[in-house]
């Protein structure tokens, strides 16, 4: 039985060479549950936007799949594409405030739903991205900085504030989303 990595290489070759639909479906089914979860958290919960992000990410991935050089795992590469799609959606929908944070972040009804997912979803996108990449997905600050186009120190700072905002939300304190970085 092939490992996931070997199956990825086989399917990537087939999609790249022939546009093989069966191979694509194999890739899709192996990776989409994780990409979908990632996109959901990045976009603040399940919504049609998440579907669009995942679909768009696969479209971009297949367009570029012939150039994928296996310098990272396929999952990492795909996650980066999902992340870029999410950031583009944020830019389309959100006018950032002067401190770079989203003053119109969604507010979860924390009196009723003090769960972690809701609290993460309620974070401003900038905080949410760093928190999810670091604390959920396990990226290093250097990797986050590269993907989000910031300095590693900024990533650390964002994570600190994100955790504090999350803790405040979980404890029922007033959201501190507008705290400066």
């Amino acid at each position: 039985m092939l490992s996931d990595g070997d199956a990825d290489r086989r399917d990537v070759r087939a999609v790249s060479a022939n546009g093989d639909e069966a191979a694509f479906r194999s890739l899709y089914r192996r990776h989409t549950p994780a990409l979908y979860a990632f996109a959901c958290r990045m976009m603040g919960g399940e919504s049609p936007d998440v579907d669009d992000v995942v679909q768009d990410a696969w479209l971009r991935a297949v367009r570029a799949i012939g150039e994928f050089g296996w310098r990272s795992s396929l999952r990492t590469w795909l996650s980066s594409i999902v992340l870029n799609c999410c950031r583009e959606r944020w830019r389309e929908k959100i006018q950032p405030s002067s401190d770079g944070l989203d003053s119109a972040a969604p507010t979860a009804d924390l009196n009723l739903r003090l769960d972690l997912e809701a609290a993460v979803a309620a974070l401003p996108p900038g905080y949410r991205a760093v928190l999810i990449l670091h604390d959920v997905e396990g990226y290093t600050h250097d990797e986050i900085a590269e993907r989000l186009g910031m300095q590693p120190g900024t990533s650390k700072s964002q994570l600190f504030h994100a955790r504090r905002a999350l803790r405040n939300r979980l404890s029922g304190d007033a959201p501190s989303a507008t705290a400066s970085t």
Binding site: A34, Y36, V62, V136
Partner: protein, 209 residues
């Protein structure tokens, strides 16, 4: 302000599920968009392997024989419209000798019409009790309805894909199929993306409707 609650939150975050089940329609929508962009090739049936069909015939008691549908389609410069001959009913409970004869007749008919470029593919459906069960699946629900004692539609036993210049020619081909001799009936439908389907039914006793 790193304190114990940070550790608690971080640990909780690490325990969040890393995967979620995507909506059931997302795969279809994604594949469709990739096809529209010309990035994926629709799967072509492996076609119609003689030995596979003979084997299927020996199991199901019915044989469809032909050549490579893929090759036929690629080599035909101006393919005629495609029709599906949908096979329903027919005698059941044949003994093995009758099965073999019947399989031979279907096979000979399919092979002869494949040689003339008319039959391009087909499938036989299972005829065992288990394979007769009908599973009904609806988008947006988790339930699958299994009808162990299906009635309507359960006698659909297979199909041929054929090229024919028009529906009259397709019906004429259906009339010649040995399936009718065994009490079955054949529904002839034009295959998409041809114009809206016209449905005709050929059977030994009722002729064409």
């Amino acid at each position: 302000m790193q304190d114990q609650s940070d550790d608690f939150v971080t640990a909780a975050l690490r325990r969040l599920p890393r995967e979620m089940t995507p909506p059931p329609g997302l795969e279809h929508a994604t594949v469709a968009s990739l096809r529209r962009a010309g990035l994926l090739r629709s799967p072509l049936r492996a076609g119609f392997n003689l030995m596979t069909w003979v084997l299927a015939a020996s199991i199901a008691g019915i044989a469809f024989v032909g050549g490579s549908m893929f090759a036929t389609r690629l080599s035909a410069p101006e393919p005629q419209p495609t029709y599906a001959l949908l096979l329903y009913g027919g005698s059941s409970g044949d003994d093995s000798a009758t099965h073999a004869n019947r399989a031979g007749e279907y096979g000979a008919w399919a092979a002869a019409n494949h040689a003339s470029g008319r039959v391009i593919g087909g499938e036989a459906l299972g005829t065992s009790v288990a394979s007769l069960a009908v599973h009904t699946v609806a988008l947006g629900t988790d339930s699958v309805i299994v009808d162990d004692q299906p009635t309507s539609g359960s006698d659909f036993i297979g199909y041929f894909l054929v090229h024919a210049e028009d529906s009259d020619a397709a019906v004429a081909l259906a009339r010649d199929c040995p399936h009718l001799k065994y009490g079955g009936r054949i529904v002839v439908r034009r295959v998409w993306p041809d114009p809206p389907p016209s449905v005709v039914v050929a059977s030994q006793d009722t002729g064409v409707r």
